[in-house]
């Protein structure tokens, strides 16, 4: 039993995400094998390991951007296949290493989550969020081509949380950022986790982030390294 399931006052408390023997194979190549893991709501799990080891593939499987080829994956007690993939991705959001910003302005990006849900855009919330991440409210109409690398990453992160997901998967979102931007983005993620209760899964190569990990899972050659999961 890999789940963190336990009984509390007679009720079964189920882990938010449970992976049992998850594998992923392309042709003859086994990218992931025997991945078993349970992640509780509100946790912050850091995935580390060498490049090409399967971390991003694992994250994409959890985000339903790829389908596992073996094993079981459950979310909120239900098999992932029982969810509509679109509805699931609105609850389990994935942010890429080098994000592509859509359209022409910051507004186009922050309005996108509302647009796809056919909800009216909450521009006041967007302005507050921009100010919180160190941008100005007036930047809402700034052209995306005029943003620096750090600003692009902040806008991309905000795009993922304009409407809160339950799980936020961050694939090396601080890679390529300078120390100041890296620290800022990290504090932002911490805020999402601590204040907003979002479950966070981060993939990183950064040693300081690995050292500071609340829970570390090391993936090497498509497998969780024994003792690499804490």
């Amino acid at each position: 039993m890999v789940c963190n399931d336990f009984y509390a006052e007679g009720a079964l408390i189920v882990s938010l995400l449970t992976l049992e023997n998850v594998g992923y194979q392309v042709g003859q190549q086994q990218i992931l094998r025997g991945i078993s893991l349970a992640i509780d709501a509100g946790e912050w799990v850091t995935f580390a390991g060498p490049s090409g080891g399967g971390k991003s593939t694992l994250a994409r499987i959890i985000a339903s951007l790829l389908s596992r080829t073996s094993g079981e994956l459950t979310f909120d007690g239900q098999p992932i296949d029982s969810y509509d993939p679109i509805a699931y991705r609105r609850r389990v959001s994935y942010s890429f290493q080098q994000p592509t910003l859509f359209g022409e302005t910051v507004r186009d990006n922050l309005a996108f989550p509302y647009q796809i849900r056919q909800l009216p855009f909450d521009s006041q919330r967007a302005i507050t969020a921009l100010e919180y991440v160190g941008l100005a409210g007036a930047d809402l109409d700034k052209a995306v081509i005029d943003l620096s690398g750090g600003q692009r990453q902040r806008v991309a992160l905000l795009r993922n949380v304009m409407i809160y997901p339950e799980v936020l998967i961050l694939d090396e979102v601080t890679a390529g950022l300078d120390a100041e931007n890296k620290a800022f983005v990290w504090s932002l993620i911490d805020h999402f986790n601590q204040e907003d209760g979002i479950t966070i899964l981060t993939i990183t190569h950064d040693q300081s982030e690995i050292t500071a990990a609340k829970r570390l899972v090391t993936v090497v050659d498509g497998q969780i390294v024994p003792g690499g999961a804490s």
Binding site: L65, S67, I86, R89, R90, F96, F102, P113, I116
Partner: protein
């Protein structure tokens, strides 16, 4: 009728093909074989069609006319499918899009009284509509394939944010529809000042007053706009789903 193309002039005109062949051979383009096959096929196909049309026009049967129109549409759909680069269900999509674009356009032309359901009008007009729709759909497919590869990251990010397939593909679909319609729009802009298109040239060749000939050309311009827009919209909206699997994940088709 002041046309003077006889078999002897056709043989002499074959000299023009020799020029093209000589260029291909000298520049080592490697297209000599294709060119010869193309010329032989064109001559045989056109002779067969010429005699077939003569027969069909003479007996003027509604069902035979309808069957010929369906053959034209199926062939156009089959050719468009060949340019799909592996997009799933490209044959039914292409045939369906060409069938509807040709049907709607012919219907409007008939209702407007511009053409009648007689073989000498329906068959050539259907051929013009279906072939333009075919080219437009082929361009749409090429653009869909190129854009889904080029914009893969943006599509993935939209999916990751919870966009449905339509929202994730909207920009690509729009760009592809535009690509399909662009040649027709460009040619409409330059008709008369750059080119004297086939229909109009043919009528003038046959001795029709140019002022009367342009009216037909205006009709052709309108009908091609309609056919390529309907064909492109239908083909793009039906085809983009083929870039995703049943779990709504992006998959670029293999050729």
């Amino acid at each position: 009728m002041n046309l003077a193309v006889n078999n002897q002039s056709l043989v002499l005109a074959l000299g023009l093909v020799m020029i093209a062949l000589a260029i291909g051979w000298k520049e080592k383009l490697g297209i000599d074989r294709d060119m010869i096959i193309g010329v032989v096929r064109a001559v045989i196909q056109l002779f067969v069609v010429g005699y077939l049309l003569k027969y069909v026009f003479r007996i003027a049967n509604i069902w035979l006319t309808a069957i010929l129109i369906f053959i034209i549409i199926f062939n156009a759909g089959y050719n468009a499918k060949q340019r799909s680069g592996g997009i799933p269900k490209a044959l039914p999509i292409s045939v369906g899009a060409i069938l509807i674009s040709t049907g709607v356009t012919l219907g409007v032309l008939m209702l407007a009284g511009a053409i009648k359901f007689i073989p000498s009008q329906m068959i050539p007009i259907s051929g013009m509509i279906a072939s333009n729709s075919m080219v437009a759909i082929g361009l749409c497919y090429r653009n869909l394939n190129a854009q889904f590869k080029q914009e893969r990251q943006a599509v993935l990010e939209k999916l990751a944010l919870g966009a449905d397939l339509k929202d994730a593909s909207r920009d690509i679909v729009r760009a592809s529809i535009k690509t399909g319609m662009q040649p027709t729009i460009d040619s409409a802009k330059t008709v008369g000042i750059v080119s004297l298109p086939g229909m109009m040239s043919g009528l003038i060749f046959a001795g029709v007053d140019p002022v009367r000939a342009i009216k037909y050309q205006i009709m052709v311009t309108f009908m091609l706009m309609s056919a390529t827009s309907i064909g492109s919209v239908l083909a793009c909206y039906w085809a983009y789903r083929g870039f995703y699997n049943e779990r709504k994940q992006l998959q670029v088709p293999s050729n």
